[in-house]
Every structure is written in structure tokens, then in C-alpha cells.
């Protein structure tokens, strides 16, 4: 256990800052992290394609070549259209802006710097904490481009709605489900990666809730619910049932191992309704069910196809799943959620 704890500690920039700059460094790091979070309250990190450096200096020095930083109320940052910047976090927490990007390697000695750059294609980011000439990556399992710009929700429905913007972004779990980078079809058993991606997203963004994974635990010893969310202090619970639609098959195979169409989602909704009925008999807390569908249906796709036209690839984008009205009318069933997973379609050539 000691080796594991040491290995974990060595990976964290917090430990590295303390190692290099001592307790004064940790105090500076607190100020820096607070400044970073304040900055991201007003500036979407996806704008920062030119890069941002945010730093503290233990003696409040500015980098050389920088004439003056402008003291700004953080709310003003939202009105500035910039793709790059350098921000100095003062000792009292106020932020000073220099509208050019200063390489964190050029920060004065005694600085702790933070660097972030958003890379539009493929929608990834670079993020690290810098002390002297050493850069320490910021570990980020949230799925958002920056570990410090993760929105928080106190409503599960709002969180699930926002997740739609995540499914087309690079995600270490969702990226592994595809047979190819064109995202035409899944590899076998993609559901655990979908569950993991959604679980991590909710763990990092849903406030005052406990996210429990239930891949093996059966509600009634037949089929499992995927995620259980509990808000103990608000006295309620939610069950999330995840389904995927589309085709799956091993690489190189000339036939699909599994194909799921709309009926699978409807079946999932019926299953969830049954779980809710059996759950209501045992659980005293109000319980809400969510059916969440990862939809990668394509029209006319065979297992040997390596590309798809836009017409066939996007055919189901606006074709919502039709659920039985009696399911939708249940007061313990939330509005079904569907994430359409877009393929990379063939480019349309101008004639």
C-alpha cells in the first residue's frame, strides 16, 4: 500500500509543488487554483485555442517583456473576446490580465504557472501546472477539456442534457467503443465504456449525489440497472438504464455480432418500468427511472463497409425513438434521453 500511495502522490502536481517550493508553494498553489476556477467561471475554456497562462508569483513579479497587466473584475472577462491570455493572480486573489500569451517557461523564478490550450481538432486539450522548468500534467477524469472548468449540476436531468455535448468530444472511454475512427459501428460489448463515461461525468459534476455503479447487482436477479444515484439528504433516488443502438462486431468480421434497433430501447424502457415497480415495493424513497440511449444507428451499413454517406450516416439523427405512451406517462419515469453518436461521413464533393 505504501508503494501505491507514493506512486499516487508522485503523480499529483500538488505534491510536486510542495516538494519544489515547500509550504509557501502550497499556499501559492491554493491562490493559483482559486484564480483558475474564477477565470473559468467567466471564460469557456474551448475559446482558448491560443493558450492561457495563469500564474502566481511568491513575490508578485511580472514576466519580463510584459509592460503592464490590467486589473480586471472577473465578470469582465466574459466580455473580452480573446483566444489567448496571461493572467496574474495577486496575493489578494484579484486577477490581472495581459492579452498576450506568455510561455510558462518564461515566467520569473518563484512562479507557479498553469497552462491550458484547447485544440479544436480533435477537441482535446493540453493542461499542466509548471514550476521552474518542470511541467506536471493535471490529471482529469471528468471528460471536460479542463479539470477546473467542470460545470456542476444539482439536477440530474440538466446534467444528462449537458452530457449530449460530451459524446462527440474525445473521451477516453467512449473513444474505445468504435471499430474504426469513422465511428460507423461498435466493437463488441460497448455498454461498459458508455456506463463508465457517464458515471465519471456524473461523479465530477452532479452535486450532493452519490453515484453507484451496479453492473453486477441485480434489482430482481434478472437484469441489472446500470447506475444508481442517491440524494440522501433530499430523500430521493434515481436509476439509470443504459442501452445502445446500432451494430457491433469484432474488427475484421464480415458480419455483425449484435444489432439493436428501436425495439431494444423500448424493451429497455419496459424493463426499467418493471424494476421501478419491484423497487417501489422495497424502497421507501421516491425513485425515478431514466432510460439513456446511445444511438449509433446507421442506414444500410454492412459489416464490411469502411465508409458511409452523409445521407445514410445521419439518417437517424432526428428520428427519435417512439416509446409506448403508458411508459412516458409514468410519474416515476423521466423523459427518455437519447445521444445520437455522429459518424464521420464521406465528404460531399462539389460537382
Amino acid at each position: 500500500m505504501v508503494a501505491r500511495m507514493v506512486e499516487i502522490s508522485d503523480r499529483l502536481y500538488v505534491s510536486k509543488v510542495r516538494e519544489l517550493l515547500g509550504e509557501e508553494g502550497v499556499a501559492g498553489l491554493r491562490r493559483l487554483l482559486a484564480g483558475i476556477r474564477t477565470f473559468y467561471k467567466w471564460v469557456p475554456c474551448e475559446k482558448l485555442t491560443g493558450g492561457v497562462t495563469i500564474y502566481v508569483h511568491l513575490s508578485d513579479e511580472f514576466p519580463s517583456g510584459v509592460d503592464d497587466f490590467t486589473l480586471l473584475d472577473p465578470s469582465r472577462f466574459g466580455y473580452i473576446d480573446f483566444q489567448q491570455a496571461t493572467i496574474h493572480v495577486e496575493k489578494d486573489g484579484q486577477l490581472r490580465l495581459w492579452p498576450e500569451f506568455v510561455d510558462p517557461f518564461l515566467l520569473p523564478e518563484g512562479s507557479i504557472g498553469y497552462h491550458f490550450r484547447y485544440i479544436e481538432r480533435p477537441g482535446t486539450s493540453v493542461e499542466h501546472i509548471q514550476v521552474r522548468n518542470e511541467a506536471f500534467p493535471v490529471l482529469n477524469a471528468s471528460g471536460f477539456p479542463s479539470a477546473f472548468a467542470v460545470p456542476s449540476f444539482d439536477d440530474l436531468g440538466a446534467a444528462l442534457e449537458q452530457f449530449e455535448h460530451m459524446v462527440d468530444s474525445p473521451d477516453p472511454h467512449l473513444e474505445t467503443v468504435w471499430r474504426s475512427e469513422k465511428r460507423l459501428a461498435f466493437l463488441p460489448k460497448p455498454e461498459r465504456h458508455m456506463r463508465r463515461s457517464l458515471e465519471l461525468y456524473l461523479r465530477h459534476s452532479l452535486r450532493d449525489a452519490r453515484i453507484l455503479v451496479r453492473p453486477e447487482q441485480n434489482v430482481n436477479e434478472t437484469e441489472p440497472v446500470d447506475l444508481e444515484i442517491s440524494w440522501a439528504f433530499q430523500g430521493r433516488m434515481a436509476w439509470i438504464e443504459i442501452k445502445w443502438l446500432g451494430h457491433s462486431g469484432p474488427l475484421g468480421s464480415d458480419r455483425w455480432s449484435t444489432s439493436y434497433h428501436q425495439g431494444r430501447a423500448v424493451e429497455g424502457a419496459h424493463q426499467l418500468a418493471n424494476y421501478l415497480d419491484s423497487g417501489a415495493q422495497r424502497i421507501s424513497l421516491p425513485l425515478m427511472g431514466y432510460i439513456v440511449v446511445f444511438d449509433a444507428r446507421r442506414r444500410d451499413l454492412s459489416a464490411i463497409d469502411t465508409s458511409i454517406s452523409r445521407e445514410n450516416g445521419m439518417y437517424y439523427q432526428l428520428r427519435d425513438i417512439v416509446y409506448p405512451p403508458e411508459i412516458l406517462a409514468r410519474p416515476d419515469m423521466a423523459k427518455p434521453v437519447r445521444y445520437f453518436l455522429k459518424p464521420l461521413c464521406d465528404a460531399v464533393l462539389d460537382s
Binding site: 500511495m5 476556477r37 450532493d208
Partner: protein, 213 residues
Amino acid sequence: MASDSDLSRHREPHIEAFSDSLTVVERLTPIAGGAMLGEVHAFCYLACLLSIFEQQSPTSWGYEFTALPPTLPYAPEITEAVQKLEEIGLLSRKGNVYLITEDGRQELLLWSGLKQLEARRRYLDGATGASLVVGVPSVGNDLAYEPQLQRASKLKQPRELLAEATLSPLFEQFTALRQAVGSRVQDLLTPAAVYLSFLSTEAESDDSPNSQF
């Protein structure tokens, strides 16, 4: 003769619970716009764990925690304190989020002079500081894998936390933590962040079902 309900109406919440609750809300306000009730409990529990990391006895914390429901730390004194603080205007509430008022800030300033509360401020600062690193929602979820809470979760019933007889796994983790970060740590942000990161890896490796139902 006073009934139990009469007595409970007149019993004052512990000063530690009062101060801890107000401190957590104040510290989380710039980070997360305030604190929800479960978050106040969670951060107070994490602060208590940090005191145990520094080899203080759990009984010296001033109030006790229960796992209720099994994955959550809960102390009735905290809930009482938060309700009382709101009643007397030191906290306000927006939906389910508690915010510190100007009167609350003034009161916290007064309490900062109380010697009996001095030591625990370090633990609360370490605990709330960890949310600068991992974010507020993650802290509660990572904390669910602390051995005491995990044990209660697997037993699927409410359980007293930090009882002497059950502390061995926690002591083992904290011995390892002290070896990793050192035992003479001024700002407890570092051990808090390392410990939560450790617990999140416990979450990844835990294959057993952990639902309460």
C-alpha cells in the same frame, strides 16, 4: 418533567458543529457558490479524517458520524447546526445551496479567536482546499470509498463510523499516506488531495456491488 422533545428543543448544537458548518460553507462559497447539506457533512467528515491522519483520536472531534445511508457520513449535530445557522441569519439558502451571510462572516471572524476551534480550522482548510484540486462533487463520491464508509455500504445498514475497533484499515492507509507525503505537513491540502486520489483508484478497482439496495 420535561419530555424528550422539550429537551431537544432546548439543547444547543455543539459549538464545534456550528463553527465547522459555517466554515465549510464559507470556504466553499468562492469555489462552488455555497454548499449543499450533504456536502457540509462530507467535508466535516473529511476534516475529521485529516485529524486522525495527524494521529488525533476520533473522540476528540467533538461529535460523531454515522454512515446513513450507508455511503454517506452523517452527524445530527451538523444538520442541527446548519438549520439553526439559517434560522438566526448566519446562513441563507438558495434552493438546496447554503450561503454565508455578512453576519455569518462576522460571526466566523469572532470565532476565529477561540482557541478551542483553532486546531480544527487547519483540518477544515485542508478538507475544503481539496475541492480546489478535484472539485466539490468528486470529494463526496471519492470519500464513499473510505474504508469505514465502504464497510458500512457493503453491510447495507446504518453504522457508527470511526469506532475504535474498526479503525485498523484506516490507520493502515494513513500510515502509508504519512510515508508518501511526510508526517510534518503544515497545509493539509496535500494529504487530502493524495488521499482522495487514492480513494478514487479504490473506486476503480472495486468490482463488488455497493448499492444499498
